[in-house]
């Protein structure tokens, strides 16, 4: 996959980035590097992400609202300025509070599946 756009310095406004649908009620605005990526995700009120896993390491920070990450049957309810690290391969699900949530997810390496889906919308 051509990821050469990542090799130049880039400066963007996330508002200008075309969002793509992650799952019902959850959309993401990605910024792809070569080694890692950001994904600014917005949960509509009450939206949920079903259990899943991926080989990529995931880090992140909650920016607005509440995002709960459920790992090993335990729900971690995260408020703004809470951060997390999920090693690759760890199954997790997510839900948000009644007011929705804004969260910055970070993946290393790049989620090529996201890059493909995001480009497919062009």
């Amino acid at each position: 996959m051509d990821n050469s756009a990542a090799v130049q310095p880039r400066f963007i406004r996330f508002d200008d980035v075309r969002p793509f649908l992650l799952t019902d009620g959850v959309s993401g605005r990605p910024l792809f590097g070569a080694l890692g990526m950001l994904n600014l995700i917005e949960f509509e009120p009450g939206a949920t992400v079903p259990p899943h896993s991926h080989p990529h390491e995931q880090l992140g920070i909650v920016l607005r609202g509440m995002q709960a990450l459920v790992v090993d049957g335990e729900a971690h309810e995260l408020l703004p300025m809470a951060g997390y690290v999920l090693p690759g391969g760890v199954e997790h699900s997510a839900y948000c509070g009644p007011e929705g949530a804004l969260v910055l997810d970070v993946f290393a390496p790049v989620r090529e599946d996201y890059l493909e889906r995001w480009r497919a919308d062009e």
Copy 2:
């Protein structure tokens, strides 16, 4: 370096993370993964970061205030919800506005120099 703390899921509040000094007037609260890391950095009003480079890819998002990144003699003044990608090896400097700034920096791979400095403060 022992980075094994990164291999378990972790949930933190950045307020609880011990900050370390990056340069005069600029401190960071790091969250280390195995493949990447977050660094929540706070600029005091008027603080600057002198020109430097590192082999690590750097991505980030401005959360409060204004952070300017200067690359190739051009200043990119970034407001909240602006993002950036700097490939490894690109020289850059930074300054903030009169009200300071809160910025989330993301590095891949992990900045082992930061891990070492942060642990040295324990």
